[in-house]
Amino acid sequence: MDTINQGPSERLALLIDLERCTGCKSCEAACKTEHRLGPGEYRNKVVWASALEEAGLAFLTLTCQHCERPACLRACPVNPKAIAKDPLTGIVRVDESRCTGCGECVIACPYSAMGYDAKGHHAVKCDLCTERRAEGDATTACASVCPTQAIRFGKRDELLADARASGRLPRDQDHFLLGPATIYLERTTPRNTATPTAITPARAHPGESRRPSFIDGLAAQTAVQAQTPSFPYGESRADTAPDRVVPGGCNICFNCCTVKFHFKNNKLIKITGNEDDPLLKGRVCPKSQLTLQMYHSEHRLLYPQKRVGARGEGKFERISWDQALDEIADKLKIIRDQYGAEALAMFIGTRTGILDYRATTKMFAQLFGTPNKDGTDPFCASGKNVAFELTLGSIGSGNSYTENDLGSAELYVYIGDNQAETRPVYFGMINDWRIKNGAKMVAVDPRLTATASKADRWLPIRPGTDMALGLALAQHIIANNLHDAQYCADWVLGFEQWRDFILHKQYTPEWAEQATGIAAADIKRLAEEIAAADGCVIFASRGVNQHTNSTQTNRVLMFVSAITGNWGRRGGAFFNMSAGTPIAAKVPEHRAPKINKQRVRRSPAGWTEAMLHGMPYPIRALITCNNPLAQWPGQAKAREAFAALDLMVHIELFANETSAFADYLLPAASGIEKGEIGRSNDDRRIVWIDKMIDPPGEAKSDTWIWIELGKRFGFDDVLKDKYKDPAVFWDEVCIDSDGLRGCTQKRLHSVPYRWVRQPVATEDAPEIETLFLEGTTVPNGAPGRRFPTKSGKLEFWTDELEAKFNVLGLSALPEFYSEREQLVDLPYMELLETDAEAGVISPFCSPATGSARGRIVAPGPDHPGIKLRAQGFDTELVTGRPPAAHFHSWTHYFWQSQEMWPDLYCQIHPDKAAKLGINDGDRVQVESAHGRIEAMAWVHAGIRPTAVFIPIGWGERQPYNPWRPVNFLTDSTQRDPVSDQTNLKVLLCRVSRA
């Protein structure tokens, strides 16, 4: 550091570690919440410390540098200055009462770290949370929440000493001899070299800092800034000082963060992380904090409404709850009488909460007598769920995010899992262990995601070919005797059959290179690393799941974990997102009418023929609790099908695309407005959220709505009125299983972080850090039964499994196939029955569910890919989750999520963009064989040159920056016959400037 003055020893500073920062923007959320800043006002902001042309993502939080020689202070023309520097701590602060808003300080700061309040006309800047710390907090708001511990606050000298002691180097960003106090730690040196197809994420000294153009687009940001943000933004500190703090959890995503809700006069004023949680330690992603904007949103639905215009027009009139529920019940009775109970379909998204998803709605469906009830699983996770059930006998790995368990691994392999943006806090823990323990990390993904940017190697795989990679890894391990033979002999059933199959098929790394685009040498190297590691954790997720080969790919990757002994040990696991929540809500047998017909299909996307044409039988009514008209693949057909229904009821927080098609729109409560448990998460934590406030207007909890609707059918002897209290419902109905029996309200409330890790069979049973360890027995299992399968072993192949797969025309031994829409001709899955046909009863589903049989088609002259490519569809379309501030539709109603990520974007490689004449920030048109949408171009070298990526979640009726959802480009008929999972990860498309 080349500074003029030696800073005082009491000088305070932030330390920002580029090796840890994933650009999640949690710090931005915390800062705005702490200082009640509105749209466009910043004290910190995430920037990309790498040029777009580089295949690297190096993020950093830009904030005031608290310079020794602050250019801002010297530029201030006011006398005495409106900016002052504390001689002891070095903190540079703005005295807003003296600031005339001339902006000279904003212009003068070469780091552009001086903010400006465009409404209040004065400079704003980071003061290292001086007031917050004066009130007793030990650290700054940004550092307190950072999911990856990338931000630390303290005395500058001590922070520097710590960094140097751990061998880390501070960046030299004192280019202008201003003596910046903020410390940025350089990324670490790459430990490995890679072959040309594998790319080492950029770790060199980053070039200029910048952000993708579309994020700061004038129109997009104006849309956010034009609306006055709701309470408590702009309020004084005194008016938002909490008088009560209640622990609870975030109800949005699978990280299921524990949080604290801060109240003043019973009004929610702030949501922070819960530092009393021994696991997450107060770290939260931006979403948890931004739910404050859901609770105070001016966009919330406030009262029941009835459609008065045409379907899709969005015209409604206000009605009472009694009228709404009476009329819905009357119409349902008519439909039931005319078509049968199964003519009612229920699509229950996870927005509704796990309690309602797994308990209330399940009970209602059983009482009503319809099998046609499902959620988002077949769009996200049904393939991995089936694979887990077949292989392990239960869902989830059994490992925990603890130092002893996952923290002790030597190798982390991410395959199609962008954990840094989908479960940011969990990733922060993994990345911390990687850095501290020197563990290796490899990311396999078509994109250089935030996760891949932290890895030692990024393998940019062709989307849809993870199965080929898994097979080749296994082949190389087995062929070279690198597997754990003793483990396979003791704990794997059907290993020999599978081994022989793999070897017979010659699924070699050289073979896989053609399919995956990954060099054989890299596949071999990865296989050898997995086999050699004393603890390897393979993380897979939607990138693996959302394919027609979902179940088999998951199984193959599970097998790779198992044969290397990485199952049932500390530091070794196969993970695929959430572990599931074994809620045991059941209707007494005598109260559930016999269901005479099969569920049409497991995937709701397979219900459209029943809605449109009554095939294989009619579905005439739909009750839905989220936003299928942005979420379902094949939007054009889904909208046509919804328009054909006799009755559609939508239970929601915000009016969206689906609402416009509804006959009745019912306002729902969420999170602390109703009380519930958090989402199912990776490490089996049940997080309880108390009801703390009343919902807005006349909104009601989903449970209240189902119980009240149930009363109109006489279901109230089962769906009892007292269950409207979620705590009563939980204790009396939900936990009657070995896994949850000990997870009572009493136990959940006995800890200040409100979670218990299941399984806990009794209230005083200890939590189990790692399940299935050698020498242990599954709960209620016979002695020696280590795994919860029938055999007590991991099941790769059995006669029973083979018979099940044969029902669908398949084999239990996973044979490679990919998707029909590819740039190269690979085997693909052809379904032998359409959704209009009954098909066969799937052996993988309960209740009885119709399924198409499948056939693996070898490449040939009639390959669908050839025809599509001839039509100019020359690009791989990958869809998926947007960055951490968004989750499906609902965050698009939070102004700050929209400020962070405003527009629908299309990530495109610079080479492809140049060829098409597309610049960063241009509006582009993307067309597939199934539809057309527009988006903003994000030119980024961190994606396969042949692919584009477009995220889910945007919709046409959102309040800030509406866009047609990406599911206009997807196809509802490309599904996995085993799990009914839809392919959402590779479709051919063409891109042009709009």
């Binding site: 006398n79 003296r98 904003v106 202008f176």
Partner: protein, 272 residues
């Protein structure tokens, strides 16, 4: 002082009273309407209200100039160290400028093809620029956060060397200009210019060079970077124009009248 507790009344005086955009637009609209109204009804008014030299319009001009002295006072209060609340002074400068502008327009009597009309033009440009800066420029200021590349580019050795020399020169100069001051937090202000204009100018020159090397002004849009220097330059041009106007109408009345009658009231009344 940032953290000192203050008595209630002091706090009230020092409380920041921001002029919201809506209020500024209302004031501006009122000024524009007043000017338009003046032009509409001007033909219907008595002769005295159409002649810039009449007592009525002379007084309007004087009142306008007096009001336009408030922005000058704002500059002094803001930079001189005497203004307790610069924000209130800012608000006064806006309000008085707008009213002053209306009075000057009235004073012009609608004669827009003569040289003094340039002063009107400067006034209107000043007002327009000020309103733009407050309404639109503010958004640009806000959007500047995290938008500049130079702060994180690879350091340039030559720039650093030149900066090192500059800083040393500034420190040397500062020993004479303000020995108690710390170079790192110091900038020249009005009292320095009053006390030691030569040193202050020399220091300002070095500071300018340092600023150029930082490139921070060049890193923002031209509008954002230069609206304020332009605003100030126009203001000084206006002041200069007023002085010229007063001098010429007073001492070179015949030249100004260009052969016509010298009918401005103060010269007739007081003798010129």
């Amino acid at each position: 002082m940032l953290n000192c507790p203050q008595p209630f009344w002091t706090a009230l005086i020092l409380q920041r009273h921001d002029l919201p955009d809506a209020r500024l637009l209302q004031l501006t609209a009122a000024a524009v309407i007043a000017v338009i109204l003046w032009f509409v009804i001007r033909g219907l008014l008595p002769e005295a209200w159409r002649s810039p030299g009449s007592p009525e319009l002379y007084l309007a001009g004087v009142a306008g100039v007096l009001l336009l002295l408030v922005p000058v006072a704002f500059v002094i209060a803001k930079r001189g160290g005497s203004g307790a609340n610069p924000v209130n002074w800012f608000n006064a400068h806006v309000l008085c400028s707008l009213i002053g502008m209306v009075l000057i327009v009235i004073h012009s009597g609608g004669f827009l093809r003569r040289p003094p009309a340039l002063l009107l033009l400067a006034l209107i440009a000043l007002a327009a620029l000020g309103v733009w800066a407050r309404i639109r420029g503010s958004r640009r200021m806000a959007a500047t956060f995290a938008s500049k590349a130079p702060g994180f580019t690879v350091p340039d050795a030559a720039t650093r060397d030149r900066l090192r020399v500059l800083i040393a020169e500034k420190r040397t100069l500062l020993l004479q200009l303000d020995p108690q001051a710390n170079e790192g937090t110091f900038s020249v202000n009005l009292p320095h210019f009053m006390r030691s204009p030569g040193l202050a100018l020399a220091y300002r020159k070095l500071a300018r060079e340092e600023s150029l090397l930082l490139g921070s002004r060049a890193a923002v849009s031209a509008k954002q970077a230069w609206w304020r220097p332009l605003h100030m330059a126009l203001a000084w041009l206006f002041v200069l124009g007023v002085v010229i106007h007063v001098v010429t109408v007073t001492f070179f009345a015949g030249y100004v009248a260009d052969g016509g009658p010298i009918n401005w009231w103060h010269l007739r009344a007081w003798g010129g």
